[in-house]
Symmetry: C2
């Protein structure tokens, strides 16, 4: 068995991202603790008994030709790396503290571009008090570049996926779809909003949208609940409408399936949902908030409210 798949073996392209992760987690065996201290959420979460708070951590990368292209400025790519990681912390309602930064770069990468990347990453980190405390740089294949950030933060309460209940109301921040037209490079993670949500006991679960609502919503509710979405009130971005005009696909499909929204998707208990919505809007008047559906008994499926049709989890797939 070699590193590269042969005709007699299966490459990663033959598996879904979920299958790959399940196999890796199973193989890590005893080294891998169960959720929420281990994989399965936006962050890993540990209780710090001495300080009576939680430490959270997450890791994410940006890769040339995947998360940005050859014409992207270093500063924008560096910003994106930090904001992607901050979005994971936002979903946990955490405050960022420190991070480690690792580069794997071909020796043909422009040295000024790399410096500009560090400028962009540094400014994004400084804007939220995040310290980049260490790192590593290693040589990769010519023409390739990736940067990985491992981030640490803390929070006073655990806010995760898989903790909503039947009847909970589903909310989403911002406007969805069409991120490829620019939002994927200039978004700002909803850190303050996530911290505020974390402080509300009526908020029952939260995640950030990175692969698209139709894929991330099943990830939020888990395997033992369904979600029913009112597609008529879905917040559709201007860019999703523009993209729909360009490719003929309905704008609502872009809002459901496009990746890289980096908005917060959360649930609130029904008795408190109106109050949560009203106080959120008062606290964050610039941040759109939409009530888009509710949680029902089920098995991890999403349905449309108007016609009871299933909505397939056709969001972004990393492999295959």
């Amino acid at each position: 068995m070699g590193v590269i798949a042969s005709q007699n073996s299966r490459s990663l392209a033959a598996l879904s991202e979920t299958e790959i992760i399940q196999r890796v987690v199973a193989a890590l065996a005893d080294a891998c603790p169960p959720f929420p201290a281990g994989p399965g959420g936006d962050c890993a979460i540990f209780e710090n008994h001495a300080e009576q708070k939680y430490r959270v951590s997450s890791i994410d990368s940006v890769i040339l030709a995947r998360h940005f292209d050859l014409t992207c400025s270093g500063a924008n790519a560096g910003r994106k790396l930090v904001q992607r990681n901050l979005s994971d912390l936002a979903a946990a309602g955490a405050t960022p503290s420190d991070a480690l930064l690792s580069f794997i770069a071909g020796s043909d990468i422009d040295s000024d571009w790399l410096e500009d990347f560090a400028h962009g990453a540094g400014r994004a980190a400084a804007s939220v008090g995040l310290k980049i405390v260490g790192g590593d740089i290693a040589r990769g294949t010519p023409g390739t570049f990736s940067a990985t950030l491992a981030i640490q933060g803390h929070s006073s309460r655990v806010l995760t996926r898989h903790t909503c209940q039947v009847g909970d109301i589903i909310f989403v921040t911002g406007k969805l779809g069409g991120a490829i037209y620019g939002h994927h490079l200039n978004f700002i993670a909803r850190l303050k909003e996530g911290q505020w949500l974390c402080g509300q006991n009526a908020v029952t679960s939260c995640t950030d949208l990175s692969d698209g609502l139709a894929k991330d919503l099943p990830g939020l509710i888990g395997n033992r609940l369904n979600a029913r979405l009112d597609l008529s009130v879905l917040p559709i971005s201007e860019d999703a409408h523009a993209l729909a005009k360009a490719d003929g696909k309905p704008a609502v499909d872009h809002a459901l399936q496009d990746g890289e929204d980096y908005e917060l998707l959360f649930t609130a208990s029904p008795a408190q949902a109106d109050l949560i919505a009203a106080t959120f809007k008062k606290s964050f008047p610039q941040t759109p908030l939409s009530q888009i559906g509710k949680v029902e008994a089920g098995k991890g499926e999403v349905f449309s409210l108007s016609d009871n049709q299933p909505i397939a989890p056709g969001g972004f797939s990393h492999f295959g």
Copy 2:
């Protein structure tokens, strides 16, 4: 300015690794705290006031065709990733706690090989009580594979580089050179030894050997001291002798310049050096320990004791 260097700009190949890191650290600016809480050591180190101990963190990768080749088993590559990171913690005398694991893999990577990688990483982690609490997998260029581990640990005292003094005695564990013949894949990080050294007040500084003694020793002493090495007592591995026979280069040069020894290089105050050596050997009878030189006033240079000739820092260079 594009990602890839043009004829009118400088690629990373035109800079030394030290220059690249200096430029990145300068560009990160306020986001990057000073050593030892920031870059410059084997780990970043923070004081945890509530628990009266230190939290340490480090990040390191393994890259296909750089740290292992196409014929390497997944388990060996996974083991190496974890042991490389443990070696950084060993240099700080720290106890590992948790880590995040990130993959960037071409879709043609063998899925069984990846699973085997996770087996190897998981076993190495479990052997020292390290928990792998989260991670990420993203698609990279076909034919490429890298894995990055960001590790956290704790220690009761700060053991770093740059803290030795004139007159201190220089020690090294194990035997040096020729790691390419196998040691680079089957070494075990000197975690217990590092933790023991951290508990000895007479031990004044420590690092691990990853780029070769001739390059890592200047990194240990910093810019305001020199080191004088007794090359006649340098512990030379069997593999360094074998490699010398094969390529005609003196074995001592392999011991000085070959990378991936993953041994501990440390200094002890002269009055306590013999006691440190004696008690170390009693505590770790299986681990070779050699007294190889001493620290002098200077400016970051290394000399040979016998002939006063300078020893160039000709160890492994990551770029150029």
